[in-house]
Amino acid sequence: MKKIITLIITSFLSIILFSNVLFAETIKLGILEDETGNFAIAVIPKIHAYELAVKEINAKGGVLGKKLEIVRYDTQSDNTRFQEFARRLIEKDKVDVVFGAFSSASREAIRPIIDKAKMLYFYNNQYEGGVCDKNVFVTGAVPEQQFSTLVPWLMEKYGKNVYTIAADYNFGQISAEWVRQIVKENGGTMVGEEFIPLDVSQFSQTIQKIQAAKPDVLMTLMVGAKQASFYEQQAAAGLGIPMGTSVNVGQAYEHRRFAPPALENMYVTVNYIEEVHSVITSGEYHEKSKDFMARFKAEYPDEPYVNMEAANAYNAINIYALAVEKAGTTEKAKVIEALESGISFDGPSGVVSIDPKSHHGSHTIFLVEVGKGHKVSIPKVFKDVQPYWLGEAGCNLPEKADYSQYTPSKPPKS
């Protein structure tokens, strides 16, 4: 009997020891994304893009001879879930890096936890900009990339009077501030601005206020399913003013989901959408996008849409892998150092380089037009647009560690 017990104990011990050796052979990537809930529609392609990148890297032998392993939790579009699972990834799963979050609110919910644990974190989503954090890297587009391209182009084409409607919380407020500043810099006039609570679903009065102000361009920084009703209602009322945005089309593919003409006459700047290679019929962007889509569809043939956040997620994993390769270790401080040495990755829409000062990525920006019958065209491509603002404003992470979010009206103290 005693022998059997010793046998069991020793075999258990050896399994534990052996599995420890096994675990040491992988690099653990923690992923927190909203597989269900409000944001799921835009997030599911993102999750598949992480998986695709990991699979491709592992097929080539992994990083530093180790395989990448994903530890993933469904955060259910709920900020408290984000905090709970961020702690679990750090404390229990002991991951080497965390990727994820869709909304700015959820990113801000986990950033303090990340910073406290000195965890390395990649946020792979377009957002309102301004996060200057030693532990955080951003592969999504920011306002100086989306708005300083889009707004002047629209003003040039349609006129200088701009009206903004925006969701009434940090994303909308800060994005609207960017629009205001860029309009002013380009000699335009803000003829109106309205912040709308996320609960509002009826827009007749907003539409009339816009008509009374007679803008040439309407910036719609609307978030969530209720506010998305604006597009159908403005089309039904025959508003007919060119619209610009940073959020629609490139995330939740409204141009595919809504019946035309709801989104006709909409302009949006994205760093990737799956139409890139069918609209641009030759050259670098055509080839890269076509190649990416072929690999994506081979793995996930039923994906309804491959959006810009999918490209950002794919880039993030690859950029992390390059940094670990360069650092020769997964030790976080060393990886951050490698990332700050200027890592670039040639992704689905061209080269993305990490700006050492602000930890944000440069992007190719496609100006997308949604035309008659929601047909997509790309009237202009902006090459290699830098995330310049934070660096110019005084964020310099290699020199000075920081853990804050800044806005144009509240820049870093110099």
């Binding site: 269900t36 809930g37 409000n38 799921a40 529609i41 009434d168 309205e194 912040f195 709308i196 609570p197 609960d199 509002v200 679903s201 009826q202 007749s204 009065q205 907003t206 009339q208 206020k209 008509q211 009374a212 007679k214 399913a225 209720k226 998305a228 009703s229 159908e232 209602q233 089309a235 039904a236 009322a237 025959g238 508003l239 007919g240 939740a252 989901r257 809504f258 019946a259 035309p260 003409p261 709801a262």
Partner: protein, 287 residues
């Protein structure tokens, strides 16, 4: 002149939204005293019934809408038979039960249909007056809300079914002893309430993003309108909704949407404080 039309249009648009939000709840909560937190989900059923049938069978919109309403009536009848009938006269229990129903229904829609449906196009066109343009469908909604409310008033106040329904809900024992089949009357009245909520869902489905939480957009408006309407909802509904939409549109017009909503909710508090019987109490001189 255009300015005046604008004001009437904005006011009418807000008014029709409040009336149509509240109309099903006016029967279920206003008359039957069931605090129905699943009211929003009845609207969701109507909206999904409309959109799904329009897409799946290529139905013309009015027929798809009728289909959505019928689905909601059936859904209401089943719910009444299984759960609601055990909760008559237990208002607090009905809160918990209907809240549970609302969670189950909205999550089921998410599981079955995914996070969002491809939308329908708003019917009818638009017309211009000066610098402004207006959706004809929105104007149709204003008239439709009034017609629907008129029909409901006639049904419950002028027909023998209405008398039976009111008698049953007021004094079930006496009605029963007079030979009224109160169980049937309850079922039919509840189904009417559900069907009205289904109409709201069907009417707004082409104008909104169709998601499992679409009904939530209506629920606050529905409750505040029914509560301020008071004890006789069919009399109080129009004055209550008119007052509330006048407050909301004028404040939103001069300030902004956020302040408009605050003003709306604040005026509800004032009404409940100073007119505890609501607008219908003011009209019927009840104290």
């Amino acid at each position: 002149m255009i300015m005046l039309f604008n004001i009437v249009y904005q006011f009418g648009d807000a008014l029709s939204f409040l009336l149509l939000s509240a109309i099903g709840l006016a029967v279920i909560f206003g008359m039957m005293k069931i605090i129905n937190l699943a009211h929003g989900e009845f609207i969701t059923v109507g909206a999904y019934g409309t959109v799904v049938s329009a897409k799946a069978f290529n139905l013309p919109l009015p027929i798809a809408m009728a289909f959505g309403v019928i689905i909601t009536i059936i859904f209401g009848l089943i719910l009444e038979k299984l759960i609601i009938r055990h909760l008559y006269g237990r208002p607090l229990d009905s809160v918990v039960a209907t809240w549970g129903i609302s969670l189950i229904v909205s999550q089921s829609f998410l599981v079955i249909f995914g996070p969002s449906l491809e939308g329908l196009q708003t019917p009818l066109g638009n017309f211009k007056l000066g610098d402004y343009s207006y959706s004809e469908y929105r104007i149709f909604l204003i008239f439709f809300a009034f017609i629907l409310l008129g029909l409901l008033y006639i049904l419950f106040m002028k027909t023998s079914f209405g008398t039976l329904a009111r008698a049953t809900i007021e004094k079930p024992e006496i009605a029963s002893s007079m030979g009224v089949n109160i169980s049937n009357v309850y079922s039919v009245t509840f189904a009417i309430g559900a069907g009205l909520a289904g109409i709201t869902g069907a009417l707004y489905a082409p104008t909104m993003t169709v998601v499992p939480s679409i009904g939530q957009a209506f629920i606050v408006s529905a409750f505040i309108t029914v509560v301020t309407a008071g004890a006789s909802p069919f009399i109080g509904l129009i004055p209550a909704a008119s007052f509330l939409s006048a407050v909301q549109t004028s404040v939103t017009f001069y300030y902004k949407a956020t302040i408009g909503i605050i003003a709306l909710l604040f005026s509800v508090i004032l009404i409940i404080r100073f007119l505890p019987k609501g607008f219908s109490g003011l009209i019927t001189k009840e104290k």
